[in-house]
Symmetry: C2
Subunit: 216 residues, 2 copies
C-alpha cells in the first residue's frame, strides 16, 4: 500500500528489482532499533547486518533518518485489516487488545517503541510516524462505519476520533506515563468508547445540535 | 508535595539551606532540555548554567539521569489543583484544554516534551515520569469524585481511568501519532469521557454487573 504523501527522497521505493534489498535493509534497521535504539543506530550497523554496502545505503536512502523513514513506510505496507465481529464494542475491544498484546512482548515491541522514541529527536522520523499512524487509523475507521450501517452509532460519527480514542489510554500509559497496560484496561477503553459513540459524543461538530453541557 | 515513593539517591531533597541551589540546577536542566533535548544535555551544561560546580552536581545528583529525575520531582512539587466548575464535563474540558494550551506553546512545551522523550532512553527518567504523572492524575481524581457526590456519575467509577482517558487522545497525537491537537479535540474528548462516565462505562470491574456487550 502506497501512502498518498510524496515520499522524501531517501524513502522512495527503489523498485521491484531491489525489493529484496529494501526488505533486507528494513530488517537490519528494525533489528538495530530493537537492539540499540535510535540514537545508537548507525548506517554502519545497517550495512553490516543487511549485507548492503554503506555507499549504496547513502546513495539510496540519504541518511540514517531516510533508512528509518523507509522502514516505517515498508512496515505500513501490510495487509492488516481491522476485526469484524458484528458488534462495535467487540471490534473496538479487539483493536485495543491488539495494542496490549503487541506491546506486552518485549522483543516484538522494541522496534515500534524505538520508532516512537526516534520521533522525539528527528523531524523526519516524526513525519514518517504520522504518515504510518494516519494510514493505520484510516484503515480502522471501517469498524465505526459498519456500526453506523448497523444502527449502533449515529450518522455523522467522527470515526477517526473514535478509533484513536480507544487506543489512546493504552498509548498514554505505554509511552507517556509509563504505567502498565492489560486486557482489562483494553476492555474498559472499548466499553467507554462504544458507549460514547452510541450516545453521539463523537458526532462531528456540524452534526452536534449544541455543545453538550451536562449539569449546567 | 512529596511523592510517597522513596526517591533515588541522586534526587533526594538536599534540604532547606540548599533549596535555591536545587532550584537553580533544576532551571538549568529545564533550559538545557528545551534547548538541546535529553541525549545532548550534559552535566557540564548544567554546571555552567546553574553556577553549581560539576563535582557538586555529581556528588549530590550522581549523574545526568539523577539531575533529570530530580528536576521532575521538583516540577511535581507545585500547588496546581484541578478545575472545579460544578459540572463534570466542564471540569474535564478544562483539564483537556490545559493539555492543549501547555503543548501549543513551543517554548513552554520543549522541556516537558524532552522529559517524555528521555524516558525512551533512560529507565530512571521513565521511573521519574511515572511518579510525576501518577501523582498528577491522582490530584485530578477529585473532579470525578465531586461528580459522584453530585450524582452526575455512579458510585464505583474508576476516577483514575476517567481522568487519564480525557487527556489520552491529546497525548496520543502529541507524542505518538504526531498529529495536531486543538480546543475542539479537547472538547470532544471531554464530551466523550463525561458521557461514558455518566453511563457507567468506567465502573470498576467489581461494580460492573456484567461485561457490556452492545449489539450481541
Amino acid at each position: 500500500m502506497e501512502t498518498d504523501q510524496t515520499p522524501p527522497p531517501g524513502s522512495r521505493r527503489p523498485g521491484g528489482r531491489t525489493a529484496r534489498t529494501r526488505a533486507a535493509v528494513r530488517d537490519a534497521v528494525l533489528t538495530g532499533l530493537a537492539e540499540h535504539g535510535y540514537p545508537a543506530l548507525t548506517v554502519e550497523y545497517v550495512a553490516e547486518h543487511s549485507g548492503v554496502h554503506k555507499t549504496t545505503l547513502y546513495r539510496r536512502w540519504g541518511s540514517l533518518e531516510g533508512l528509518l523513514a523507509d522502514a516505517l513506510v515498508l512496515a505500513g505496507e501490510d495487509s492488516w485489516t481491522p476485526p469484524d465481529t458484528g458488534s462495535l464494542e467487540r471490534d473496538l475491544r479487539a483493536l485495543a487488545r491488539e495494542v496490549v498484546d503487541s506491546f506486552s512482548d518485549p522483543a516484538a515491541s522494541a522496534a515500534p517503541t524505538a520508532f516512537v522514541g526516534a520521533a522525539f529527536q528527528s523531524e523526519r522520523a516524526a513525519d514518517a510516524l504520522r504518515a504510518f499512524y494516519t494510514e493505520r487509523f484510516t484503515r480502522c475507521e471501517v469498524v465505526v462505519e459498519r456500526a453506523v450501517a448497523r444502527g449502533e452509532a449515529p450518522e455523522g460519527t467522527d470515526a477517526g476520533a473514535a478509533v484513536r480514542a480507544v487506543s489512546a489510554p493504552l498509548f498514554l500509559r505505554l509511552f507517556v506515563t509509563r504505567e502498565p497496560v492489560d486486557t482489562a484496561l483494553a476492555d474498559q477503553s472499548a466499553r467507554a468508547t462504544a458507549t460514547a459513540v452510541a450516545a453521539g459524543a463523537y458526532l462531528t461538530p456540524s452534526n452536534l445540535a449544541e455543545p453538550a453541557e451536562p449539569g449546567s
